[in-house]
Structure formats: structure tokens, C-alpha cells
Assembly symmetry: C2
Homo-oligomer: 236 residues x 2
């Protein structure tokens, strides 16, 4: 009750819909050859490496570009690659056989994809915008990680943080009401973007209403109604 109210009150910003922010980041083709020029270097797992280690990692890196709306990897497929997102936004989701789906999260530049490292991908990933990634062969990457204490430690720190966020999301899905879910989603999304792009008056939402609904365990109508209402009450 108070929680929800607190949450909503903090939201003093405007939310123009779906601006293209794919070009705010590093240009394609650079990461592989020059990690030092990588705009997400300070946020990504590579930040744990010293200059000598970066060189080893660089050798494994393969720069890749994916167009908006294209799949990046599919749940169930052999997990051959892991990667750091260097620009654009991704959607991570798990699907049920009858079409229902849960969006696990959205990735922003600097995020590492491939922490739940089984032999097969446990979830699917799609590009929300045009995207560039710095990819690695999974086995080569984990072999390097095992030889590089700083890297495995950093990966573990990352996984622990993700675990904590996942737990927070469980609270949201299990115990929060629709309006709280939407408000908290907007707040956490803003926080995620601020960490990378810095403060901003506007909040890009590269995902659609259906994506938000599937992330929050709601329907598209409910999400739309609540965002409209929040707007009418000029909380956002």
C-alpha cells in the first residue's frame, strides 16, 4: 500500500514511446579489434580483466550485428555462444508449449548473456532494436574464465546480482498488484538505463506493451490502462 504509493510518487518524468536508441552506443566492428575503444567496457564483465587478460579475451571475441526483431538465440538449442551486449536492447523470454510466455528480463548495453550456462540455452533472446554484441564461443570463454580468477569472480558477482534481481521480481509477480507492478517496472527500468546512459528527462521504452505485460504477468489491456491512468494523473 504505502510501498506502491512511494513507488509511484518518485516517477517524475516523461515517457515518449519507443524511440530508437540503438545508435547511442559503440559502432559495429570495433569491439573485436579494440576492447579499449568499447563503450561498455566499464560496465561489462571485461572490466574485471587487466591489460594482459584483455588481449586473451580479445582473441576469442567475435563482433556481431543483429537487426531489430530478429532472434539472437533460441531456448533448447545447444548453447554455443555467450556474449556481452554492446549496443541496443534485448528481450529474454521463456515460453510454454501453449503460447504463454514470461519475459525474464530486458538486457541493456553492458549486460552479459549466458549466465545460466547449461549445455543448452534455457531461454530465448530477441533483438528489440538493432543490436551489436561481442560474442564468444562458450567453451573457449569458460576455459579462459577458469584460468582467470578475476573473470570467474566477476561472473559470479554478476550471477549473484541477477539472482537477487530475480528474487525481487518474484516478489513483484507473486505479491504485488497490477498498478504496483507497472510502477515498479518503470522505476527499475529507469534505474537500469541511468546506470549506463546517465540521468535523462525521458525514458525510452524499446519494448512493446505486450512485452511489458508478459514481463509483469499481466495482460496488454491492463498494462495499457494503468500507463494511461498514471499519465492522466500526471505521475509520469
Amino acid at each position: 500500500m504505502t510501498t506502491q504509493k512511494d513507488a509511484a510518487v518518485v516517477m517524475m518524468l516523461t515517457l515518449p514511446d519507443r524511440p530508437d536508441v540503438a545508435d547511442q552506443c559503440v559502432e559495429a566492428g570495433r569491439c573485436k579489434s579494440v576492447c579499449s575503444g568499447c563503450k561498455v567496457r566499464l560496465f561489462a564483465v571485461c572490466s574485471a580483466l587487466d591489460d594482459r587478460e584483455i588481449v586473451a579475451l580479445e582473441k576469442l571475441a567475435r563482433q556481431k550485428t543483429i537487426m531489430a526483431r530478429q532472434p539472437v538465440m533460441c531456448a533448447g538449442e545447444p548453447a554455443g555462444f555467450v556474449f556481452t551486449l554492446t549496443s541496443g536492447f534485448l528481450r529474454l523470454q521463456r515460453d510454454l508449449s501453449d503460447g504463454r510466455r514470461q519475459i525474464i528480463g530486458f538486457a541493456v548495453p553492458g549486460d552479459f548473456i549466458g549466465l545460466g550456462l547449461g549445455a543448452r540455452y534455457a531461454y530465448s533472446v530477441d533483438a528489440l532494436t538493432d543490436v551489436t554484441v561481442c560474442g564468444f564461443d562458450r567453451l573457449e570463454f569458460s576455459m579462459l574464465a577458469y584460468k582467470t580468477p578475476g573473470l570467474i569472480e566477476r561472473l559470479h558477482r554478476s550471477a549473484s546480482h541477477e539472482l537477487s534481481l530475480a528474487q525481487e521480481h518474484m516478489v513483484l509477480l507473486g505479491r504485488r498488484r497490477a498498478e504496483e507492478r507497472v510502477a515498479l517496472f518503470l522505476i527499475s527500468w529507469r534505474k537500469k538505463l541511468q546506470r549506463i546512459f546517465g540521468p535523462s528527462a525521458t525514458l525510452p521504452l524499446p519494448m512493446g506493451r505486450q512485452d511489458i505485460a508478459d514481463h509483469l504477468g499481466l495482460t496488454i489491456e491492463t498494462v495499457s490502462r494503468i500507463i494511461s491512468r498514471l499519465g492522466r494523473e500526471k505521475i509520469i
Copy 2:
């Protein structure tokens, strides 16, 4: 739809309520001095260590017993200890200020508690039964982990697995209906127990109905009704 049906059909077992299984595991006072006699050794994170490393870990270990219904650690407190559960069952939960709570999971012998390793505990832990734990000072433990590649690697593997389970639970909370939630909970709980205690005709449920409800994002009445119905339809 099919998913739920499949799930329920597999459940061919009986579910006597709340038997005391705390004594199925290692007796108190042994872990500290003799890891080699520890019954959960093969399941716990310590399994990653060789004999020399075990000795180092043993030096840090402090055996502890907690009575049923007592708190083990509280969300928000400085995170001084991490531990492996050696016998009994734990409940992990996050609370909202207005009393709503989400149970993140239940721990069984062999589980490591302390993966979301911030400076403060992110969730509370309570003993469901009498419990013994093999505890470590958090800082000492992480210093050892950083010096012991096998340990940090094993911790990371553990965290990754937990992350995957957490995502699966998000699907349950976000997109599954009440009956599916209960059926899938019973199945996953059985699986968790089988891994440690082996197959069994009966499934101990050391947690109460309210705990199950708060784990599944339902009310106690809904859980009770569904378990009754599943029993009537002799699926369990």
C-alpha cells in the same frame, strides 16, 4: 494446458503431512571437525574441494544448531555469515512493509545459503524443522573462495543453477494458473528431495499451507482447496 495435465499425471505418490525428517541427516557437532563424515559433503559446495583445500575450509567452519521455527538470519542485517545446511529444512523469504511476503524458496540439506552476497542479507531465513548448519564467516569464506579456483567456480555453477530455477519460478508466478502452480510445486519439491534422500513413496512437506501459498503467489484457501481436489481425484 497440456503442460499442467502432464504435470499432474506424473504425481503418483502419497503426501502425509509434516513428518519430522530433521533426523535423517548428519548428527550435530561433526561437520566442524570431520568434513569427511559429513553426509551432505557430496551435494554441497565443498564437493569442489580437494583434501588440502577441505582442511583450509574446515578451519573456518562453525557448526551450529537452530530449533524449529527460529529465525536463522534477517533481511537487512549485516551479512556476517554464510553456510551450508547439513540437516533439516529452511524457508527463505522476502517481506514487504505491509506484511505481504514472498517465499523465495525452501532449502534442503546440502544447499548453500549466501549466494546473493551483498553487505546485507537480501532475504530472511527461518528454520522449518530443527536444523544444523555448517557456517562460515562471510569475509573469510570469500577470501578462501578467491584463492581457490575450484570453490569459486563451484559457487558460480551453483548461482547459475539457482538463477535458472528462479527464472522457472517467474514463469510459474507470472503465467501459470493456480492448479498448475500447486502441481508443479509438488513435483519440483519431490525432485529436490529425491536428489538427496533418494526415491520415496511419500513426500514430506515440512512447510505449512501458508508457506506454500506465499511461495506460489496464492492464498492459503486456494492451496488447500487444490490439494484437497488433487487428493480427491487421487492424483496424489
